[in-house]
Symmetry: none
Subunit: 350 residues, 2 copies
């Protein structure tokens, strides 16, 4: 381990979560924040002091506050590596290029992790586990990249190299557009009767969950990335206009739902594979301990690879339904194997 | 108990879930479907036959198929009570009024429960637990209302009286609008680079989850409820247009996020909802064949009952995260058992 003392400037959700994760791994952490309450809470949560020189400074402030901290941090820690964690990368690179911090000492990064709640109090050490962590290593010193790579590895993140301007387009689509759409939808709820809202189900809850996000954070992200967002919002506008014009036409509505399904299946599942590539095999089992183990023992005997599975089971119900996701050939192989051993296997579905 | 034999016409998600729930309570259930595969799976899951006369017929087909089943069902079961479970009520009332089934023998109902996955294979007996179940009892015979009320109570639903036209406005806002918005958003994903989608997080997954819904079902619901949906979509259109025009203005963007937060907080919490109280146990496993079987073998050895599970796995990662849902005591028992056998178990979460 080379990281011994990491200084995190900004004790919000991301900064504090990084601190928590590093402290767990025995790395010394100093937390800073212009808000003494946030800094105090973060320090209290993390408790991993160090007297060693700072080897990595993490700029975890809002983008708008970067300018005001960079100069002082670089002066105090001239040998340290620097990274940021901002949601928009091109604008951050511009900010750094006009500061005294050399671009070669600064790695723009973006951990693709977050919660709809913010602040040090929402921080969690495992926030980055298994999540992509984007870096733009072009022109950056190798020791800076090494320290950042170690950080990402310690926190369980998955490093991905991506050019900053491509990054900004990608997050506009997969993160910023969903945020704005969720807010637009949730805003419509301000107009309904209160008793109507009593009928809300999981669909409304899920689609509006991120509408609970912090306005201060998002007004900055959206305006900083307006260039990449504009064409996406205009495409959405065209589709909405078309929907309104053809709301009574079953085929047009079905086309939209089908296109939505198509888009939805592009979101990767396990192994980056697409859910639609799997064949789903439903198996009715008795609801008693040992049935799942017995089923997976059969899977091992049949030498098939289970990619995913769901269990449908209600408390008190006497049967459970296991749906296994497999390749098509494995589904056929397993179905035959299970049937010949007396399992209640139903027809596979694509 | 007065309900002894319920006939369910339509073995989709809702029909089969009703059947499962009734069978648990000892009520005889006959499942029917024009698709013999769906009917066979529903019968296999439910197994609660009855030779008694049918006292309640549940029309659980798509709205478009109602006409074709009502006449035959009424002729075969002239003394039975009839209800439907359709998502739009005014149009259903019109359909019944032009059939030979007297309006006084038919109660329009709508259980506000569903999943983005359909079909008998996705059914669960507890689908209606704590969920609103709307009825429009105006002009309906008291014995019909009594049977329906008993049904709703048996399934754990929460009966709400609502006039059909107000129902249609309410569901347009809390159910149909979110569906269309989710599809509109997910459709935009068809335009992105594939590697951008690798960066998707929980926000995108949640906002587009219901975009996976069935096009056949939704084209019917949307067109049947276009009158209530149109003003909502136009309000959304105005807000989207305004956003596009002021994307670089931090205050306007913050206003939208704040309005969205306001709308979001109008969704009631879990009151009346009977959330399943599981404890979630995260386990990091190596991503190789046989690991799941080995894990479930441990579960069997520890004699714990796994209620549900999810598999999280990121592209290129060599480990996977399995989260098991168990009762609190089983979670503690299993956690101890797994740890003593060298598994990488993390702290359970409620």
């Amino acid at each position: 381990m080379t990281l011994s003392h990491v200084r995190i400037v900004g004790s919000g959700l991301i900064g504090t979560s990084i601190g928590l994760g590093l402290a767990l791994k025995g790395v010394g952490v100093t937390m800073r924040d212009s808000d003494s309450r946030a800094q105090g809470l973060a320090e209290d949560l993390i408790k991993s002091p160090s007297d060693l020189p700072v080897d990595l400074v993490i700029l975890a402030t809002p983008i708008g506050a970067l300018k005001s901290v960079i100069e002082g941090e670089f002066e105090a820690n001239p040998k340290a590596a620097f990274i940021d964690i901002g949601s928009v990368k091109f604008k951050v690179k511009v900010e750094v290029s006009t500061s005294s911090l050399p671009s070669s000492r600064f790695l723009p990064t973006h951990p693709m992790a977050g919660r709809e709640v913010g602040g040090a109090e929402s921080a969690r050490a495992d926030l980055f586990q298994g999540r992509p962590w984007i870096v733009d290593a072009q022109g950056v010193d190798s020791d800076v990249l090494e320290k950042a790579s170690e950080l990402i590895e310690l926190l369980g993140g998955h490093k991905i190299d991506l050019d900053s301007s491509e990054h900004d387009k990608a997050v506009a689509l997969v993160s910023h557009l969903p945020q704005l759409v969720s807010s637009l939808l949730a805003k419509q709820l301000t107009g309904g009767e209160e008793r109507w809202l009593d009928l809300a189900g999981a669909g409304l809850r899920d689609t509006t969950r991120i509408a609970g996000s912090d306005a201060k954070l998002w007004r900055e992200i959206v305006t900083a990335n307006s260039q990449a967002l504009t064409p996406l919002l205009k495409a959405l506008q065209r589709d909405l206009n078309k929907l309104i014009d053809s709301l009574e036409d079953e085929n047009s509505v079905a086309d939209l739902i089908n296109e939505g399904q198509k888009g939805r299946t592009r979101i990767p599942g396990k192994h980056g594979g697409k859910a639609r590539e799997y064949t789903f095999l439903p198996i009715v089992i008795e609801d008693k301990p040992g049935q799942l183990a017995a089923l997976f023992e059969e899977c091992a005997q049949a030498s098939v690879n289970v990619e995913d599975l769901t269990i449908e089971h209600s408390p008190g119900q006497f049967t459970g339904l296991i749906t296994l996701a497999l390749s098509e050939s494995d589904a056929i192989k397993l179905s035959d194997h299970l049937k010949s051993n007396g399992w209640s296997v139903h027809a596979p579905k694509k």
